[in-house]
């Protein structure tokens, strides 16, 4: 590590000259033509700048149904009724606040926070689709809220235990390891062999770009048997595509368990808000939940019309990606080099090129999402033990890193990883295990200046 430190010093000294000419100049336009120069509270919520006026109006309609609350049926605003009967949130934006990130429950209870939910399943998989099997009395997700006449299913309680560690230079750090329990279960105990996976709401920028990365490019990054011997064996999650009625590469969700933006949107409307659509036509009321089944619905054949599912999907596909900041600073440029050198970029793939798209601004774009969209074993520390299609209980999708440095600006808080246990970027890195272990160890052994440089780079994304 001493030689590494020396190299950084040299780099620091040379940067004033180097950044103007050769070297690997950082491209601030992380989302290609969809990039916006904005680092404000609204930076995740802006339309891609080159949308046509007609597209802008579709975007606005999707924005409305993403952002405004859904209400109890029946209601005067009959386009927006049918909330629940059980639900986690009243709108997409309740958790994706300003199109950003949610927060886990505040352990002090001082502030209500929305954004963490628990997926539930029992061992096994659907014989046709391969999807996880729901708990018989609670379904595939714990809904912790409900309309007035219906009981909620239960309440998530998170407690944290402090885990301490030490950087190579002797500096100590603290991580918090969560334990999840479910209180106030309304319909008796969960299944004996229940599997639980906590999931935090992520920022929703750049989804249409990720969808437009060609399948072949993702498959080319996969190395399921680690034939190149680098200790990293990414593989796609082959999931069920409801439109194709067949297998497809999963791209969205913490386990890459959803293949398209549309299916992600329909799934979240159904699971999180209790809104039915053509893709999720049944209310989420397991047979034991009779009040749930008896509650009025918000319209047939679906509470979210096909047209509105289309506009919300379009909205999610065409949110702009904020431009990278501070690309000309020494620290950020050093950090970018370190990011590659210690192996982060092996999974957080820096650059992709999108293929064709029905939306012109999404097609043929050079983008920098910092993800391969593949599954990686992240070790026992992060494992949820709950398989999801091909993903094992310890595999997670590499999350995109664009927008990482703006989460606090948009949401006033920043909790990272699939359940928000990490309070800083450094903590998130330090939780990496399994295929990420060697990079984590390399990070842990960096000098303080090097760590600062790497973090400066990540904050600039």
């Amino acid at each position: 590590m001493t030689s590494r430190a020396a190299a950084v010093l040299v780099t620091l000294a040379l940067l004033g000259v180097a950044c103007g000419g050769g070297g690997s100049a950082l491209d601030a336009n992380l989302g290609g033509a969809t990039t916006r120069l904005d680092a404000s509270q609204n930076s995740f919520g802006l339309p891609a700048p080159q949308l046509t006026n007609e597209e802008r109006r579709i975007f606005e309609r999707g924005d409305s149904f993403f952002t405004q609350n859904w209400v109890t049926a029946p209601a005067s605003t009959d386009a927006r009724d049918g909330l629940g009967p059980t639900f986690n949130a009243q709108s997409c934006s309740s958790c994706h606040i300003r199109d950003g990130r949610g927060s886990p429950p505040d352990p002090t209870g001082e502030r209500a926070r929305l954004g963490l939910l628990l997926r539930l399943s029992i061992p096994g998989a659907d014989p046709v689709t391969g999807a996880p099997l729901p708990d018989p009395n609670y379904g595939g997700q714990l809904q912790d809220r409900s309309i007035l006449s219906v009981p909620a299913e239960g309440r998530v309680v998170v407690t944290y235990e402090t885990v301490t560690g030490t950087y190579g230079d002797g500096t100590t750090y603290e991580l918090r390891a969560p334990t999840y329990t479910i209180a106030d279960l309304a319909f008796g105990p969960l299944a004996d062999d229940i599997l639980v996976s906590p999931r935090l709401a992520s920022q929703v920028i750049g989804m249409g770009l990720l969808e437009a990365i060609p399948d072949d490019d993702l498959l080319a990054l996969a190395d399921p048997d680690d034939e190149d011997g680098d200790g990293i064996s990414g593989r796609p999650n082959m999931v069920w595509d409801q439109r194709l009625e067949g297998p497809a590469i999963g791209r969205f969700g913490w386990k890459a368990n959803v293949p398209t933006v549309e299916q992600q949107v329909a799934g979240a409307f159904h699971g999180d808000i209790g809104i039915t659509s053509v893709l999720q036509p049944q209310e989420n009321c397991p047979s034991v939940q009779v009040d749930c089944a008896a509650a009025p619905d918000g319209g047939t054949p679906a509470e979210l019309t096909d047209d509105r599912l289309g506009t919300v999907t379009f909205y999610n596909r065409t949110l702009s990606v904020p431009a990278m900041r501070d690309t000309d600073t020494d620290a950020v440029q050093d950090g970018a080099e370190l990011f590659t050198e210690i192996g982060c970029a092996s999974c957080h793939t820096t650059t992709h090129t999108t293929g064709p798209s029905d939306v012109a601004t999404l097609a043929d774009q050079t983008i920098h999402p910092y993800t391969d969209l593949l599954l990686h074993d992240m070790g026992p520390g992060l494992a949820d033990g709950r398989p999801d299609f091909d993903a094992s209980g310890s595999e997670w999708r590499t999350p995109p890193l664009w927008g990482l440095g703006l989460i606090d600006d948009v949401n006033g808080a920043r909790f990272l990883l699939h359940d928000g246990r990490a309070r800083t970027i450094a903590e998130a890195i330090l939780w990496h295990g399994g295929e990420g272990e060697s990079s984590r160890e390399a990070f842990r052994m960096l000098s303080a200046d090097e760590r600062d440089a790497l973090l400066a780079f990540l904050e600039a994304l």
């Binding site: 601030a28 609204n42 606005e60 409305s64 952002t67 609350n69 109890t72 709108s91 209500a112």
Partner: protein, 390 residues
């Protein structure tokens, strides 16, 4: 329209542009530092005056509501409705002060969701067509006491904007659901005399009205001069940052919120009650109020006779042609939305032709607001400020 090269250049050069922008436009000298500071002062004073005006008419509404609850007659109900309508006219323009994380929509302490949440979860509050026993009012077992603490705590449970308080809750309790095809809601006065839970309904109405006064008072206080409050912070930031907030507020209201959310969405969805004041059919006036807010900020002419160096004055010194264009466009857009026939919901009915004069008037308003938003963004650029609006 190639984005990338110029974008990188602009990003890197942002700081330089901020400094040079003022002198870079044509032969004009551009606004002086004093001009900029005076425009910020005008705005801060104008925001305070606007919230004071809104509070004053809301107090008058609260008085009318108290009189109605004490003596529930048709005449007193009508007086309370009239007072609500008058108070809405003063609140609408203040929505130009949103969208930059100021007191109204601060991440931690903003009260916008408590004041103006939409759509209203009316079945959470009271009975609705199809569910006679719905709502907190009709559930004394679960909610024995209706008071401010209860309503605030239920809102907090949502973690975000909830739906049981504010203008539209009061509107719903005064008018009731709009079940007619061509008029507003028609809640019978017996809801407050002989109907089930009439007393609880009156209590809910009184509490919701009181809470609105509390929240409007907080906004007046946040913008009061000479205090340790948001205004003090606003007046201490760099002038560029203050102007960025001011212009972001009107730009975002003009396009994303008014032309987009409140007009285009309603126009396109064709769902009759998908409008902001669906119980009272006051939506057209709401829209005009918002447009007046944009006009007010640009011209620097606020309630209570507050006026002074305006944003348009600054733009005029930087680029006279642009200022003239923007002045023309805000006149056109205000005229356009004032020309929309009330009630607004008649233009949303499924089956009404796009050639219908009402729908054409709505579309004309949308397009006028879209056009002026582009010019507002250009005006900011003329002042050396980059804003993004949705």
């Amino acid at each position: 329209m190639s984005f990338s090269p110029s974008a990188i250049l602009r990003f890197v050069a942002l700081g330089i542009v901020a400094v040079l922008g003022l002198s870079a436009c044509g032969g004009d000298d551009g606004p002086s530092d004093d001009d900029l500071a005076q425009a910020v002062d005008t705005y801060a004073e104008g925001v305070h005056a606007s919230y004071e005006a809104s509070l004053a008419s809301a107090v008058a509404m609260d008085d009318a509501i108290d009189a109605f609850i004490a003596d529930p007659t048709d005449g007193n109900l009508q007086a309370a409705k009239d007072a609500w309508l008058a108070a809405r006219d003063d609140y609408g323009p203040t929505e130009a002060f949103r969208f930059y994380g100021g007191p109204i929509d601060d991440e931690e302490t903003g009260t916008e969701g408590l004041i103006n949440a939409w759509p209203l979860d009316e079945a959470y509050i009271d009975y609705v067509e199809g569910d006679a026993g719905a709502g907190i009012i009709n559930d004394p077992g679960s909610f024995p006491n209706i008071d401010a603490d209860l309503l605030v705590s239920l809102n907090e449970e949502g973690g975000e904007a909830n739906v049981s308080t504010g203008w539209h809750a009061i509107e719903f309790l005064l008018w009731g659901q709009d079940l007619s095809t061509d008029g507003p809601g028609n809640r019978p006065v017996s809801d407050y005399t002989t109907a089930d839970n009439a007393d609880r309904r009156g209590t809910y109405l009184a509490v919701a009205s009181d809470l609105l006064l509390v929240h409007l008072t907080e906004l007046v206080d946040a913008w009061a001069p000479g205090a340790d409050n948001y205004r003090a912070e606003f007046e201490s930031v760099e002038t560029d940052e203050a102007l960025r907030r001011i212009i972001t507020g009107i730009g975002e209201l003009s396009r994303g919120e008014l032309a987009g959310e409140r007009m285009n969405v309603a126009y396109s969805e064709r769902s009759q009650e998908d409008e902001h004041s669906c119980f009272s059919d006051n939506t057209t006036a709401d829209i005009v109020g918002n447009a007046k807010g944009i006009d007010m900020v640009l011209r620097g002419a606020y309630p209570g006779g507050v006026s002074g160096t305006s944003i348009l004055d600054l733009v005029d010194k930087a680029d006279g042609d642009l200022a003239e264009q923007l002045t023309g466009e805000i006149t056109v857009s205000l005229d356009a939305v004032e020309a929309i026939p009330a009630p607004f919901d008649q233009h949303l009915i499924d089956g009404v032709s796009d050639d219908d004069p009402g729908r054409m008037a709505v579309l004309t308003g949308i397009e006028a607001l879209e056009d002026q938003t582009d010019t507002i963004v250009s005006a900011a650029e003329a002042l050396g400020i980059t804003i993004n609006v949705s």
